[in-house]
């Protein structure tokens, strides 16, 4: 269900399963927040990318901003990081942007060691990401 660009005050939750987990997604105005759960590695990387694809397709000027909320992600392997890299690459090619929010300490360290912090804008939490990306989305998020 790719976002339409309409302002919405309600979250779109969960939209699909990735392996044994879920990829919850929420929409705030022109921002979609997706939240991979638990682990992302070679076992569920393809499923994650597949579930992300509808949002990525609309991550372009006039479309949406995409926030990867990693607050529920405990571990990411090289294969999982590659999924993030491909998402960033596609968004950039379309003129859009994917940002990261809410990393747990372990995942943040993995991002730093792998230099993935150079690839993404990283925010402490979803609120901070929305404030930076879209005042409208931040407003919707505050009033949810």
């Amino acid at each position: 269900m790719p976002p339409s660009g309409e302002v919405s005050s309600s979250a779109i939750a969960p939209v699909g399963r990735i392996g044994a987990g879920l990829l919850p997604a929420s929409r705030y105005a022109d921002v979609v927040v997706v939240a991979p759960q638990d682990r992302l590695d070679h076992a569920n990387g393809d499923a994650f990318s597949l579930a992300l694809e509808p949002y990525l397709a609309d991550c372009r000027p006039g479309g949406i901003h995409l926030v990867l909320d990693l607050s529920a992600l405990r571990y990411v392997s090289s294969a999982g990081l590659r999924c993030f890299m491909l998402a960033a690459k596609q968004a950039k090619a379309q003129g859009g942007e994917v940002v990261i929010a809410g990393m747990q300490a372990v995942v943040r360290e993995i991002f730093e060691i792998s230099r993935f912090t150079l690839l993404f804008k990283v925010f402490d939490d979803v609120s901070a990401a929305l404030e930076a990306l879209s005042p409208r989305a931040a407003q919707v998020h505050r009033g949810r």
């Binding site: 392997s77 090289s78 890299m85 360290e109 060691i113 792998s114």
Partner: protein, 320 residues
């Protein structure tokens, strides 16, 4: 078995710069002033205890050359990068003490940084020596002759006095050298490269350089896990950060510290040695990569046994 590193740099030899030397001096002098230590020996001992390796030493700049020393019998060497020059001089001295004048070389591939030391390898100029060059490529001899052809080098290959033999190895066909079983594995690299596994009396060394690993290729990863399985030491090309290795430097034929740890953890390897250092890195950057790799291993260890991690430097010795 003792693994002795003669060259550990990737792609191109480098030298410690004056700026780098001054930085080390400043750090050491600052330490001495703050500690109030005036005795030189005491100061050096304290620095060795307290300071980073990058302050007291250098990782060195020779390109790939690693010796596997059994302490007796024929010599065994992986790759002939610029580190082969000091190695060759050392071999002359050790042979004078009674070791056979035979060197078994195992080439990962014939890219320049892995063969450039051969024209400066002293045993090649001595008729009493035999040099057996093993590898998976068909063009081993062609490549070594080519780099000594005019106008690139003044001494043609045919003027080398040593007996030089070439031995083609096949993946899946074990080979015995000096009592050591050698297995070979094809790797992803421009023109292919080959990794080597040396096994003797239950001890196992894997030398795997210039090998690109694709995180998305689970089958390929499983093959390397099997090749590394239970190794006491894996010498691994960790030239780039993971981000670089799978994005802007994809297809450049190298890998990262992240993938090194992942594969070694899965294979229950005991000791990982980061190798083929990026030539643009100074000592501090290489040491930072080591620190971060140690931390990554801690973060991802789980219930498994600790994977020991070190970073190769010219002159380093590791007993296997």
């Amino acid at each position: 078995m003792r693994v002795r590193f003669w060259g550990t740099r990737g792609s191109l030899p480098v030298a410690l710069t004056s700026t780098g030397v001054r930085r080390k001096l400043r750090s050491a002098l600052t330490y001495a002033l703050e500690a109030g230590v005036t005795d030189v020996d005491a100061l050096l001992a304290n620095l060795d205890r307290d300071a980073d390796f990058a302050v007291t030493h250098t990782y060195g700049g020779h390109s790939a050359c690693v010796e596997l020393d059994t302490g007796a019998g024929e010599f065994i060497v992986c790759d002939l990068g610029s580190g082969a020059r000091p190695l060759g001089n050392d071999l002359l001295q050790r042979a004078a003490a009674g070791r056979p004048r035979i060197v078994n070389v195992f080439l990962s591939h014939v890219h320049w940084d892995h063969i450039m030391g051969f024209p400066f390898f002293a045993p090649a100029y001595d008729p009493d020596w035999t040099i057996r060059i093993h590898g998976g490529h068909a063009e081993l001899e062609h490549a070594l002759r080519l780099q000594q052809s005019a106008p690139c080098f003044p001494v043609p290959f045919d003027r080398l006095a040593a007996r030089i033999e070439f031995v083609r190895l096949e993946p899946g066909v074990p080979h015995m050298t000096n009592g050591i079983e050698v297995a070979i594995k094809k790797q992803r690299h421009s023109g292919d490269s080959y990794g080597y596994r040396f096994t003797r009396s239950g001890r196992r060394l894997v030398y795997t350089t210039d090998s690109e690993h694709r995180p998305e290729d689970a089958e390929e990863a499983a093959g390397f896990v099997e090749f590394f399985r239970g190794a006491d030491l894996v010498v691994f090309d960790a030239m780039y950060s993971l981000l670089d290795a799978i994005s802007v430097k994809e297809d450049w034929g190298h890998s990262s510290n992240i993938v090194a740890v992942e594969l070694c953890q899965r294979a229950a390897v005991k000791h990982l040695c980061l190798f083929h250092h990026e030539p643009a890195y100074d000592d501090e950057q290489i040491e930072q990569v080591l620190r971060e790799t140690v931390r990554f291993e801690e973060l991802t260890r789980g219930e498994a046994a600790r994977l020991m991690i070190s970073s190769a430097s010219d002159g380093l010795e590791i007993d296997v």
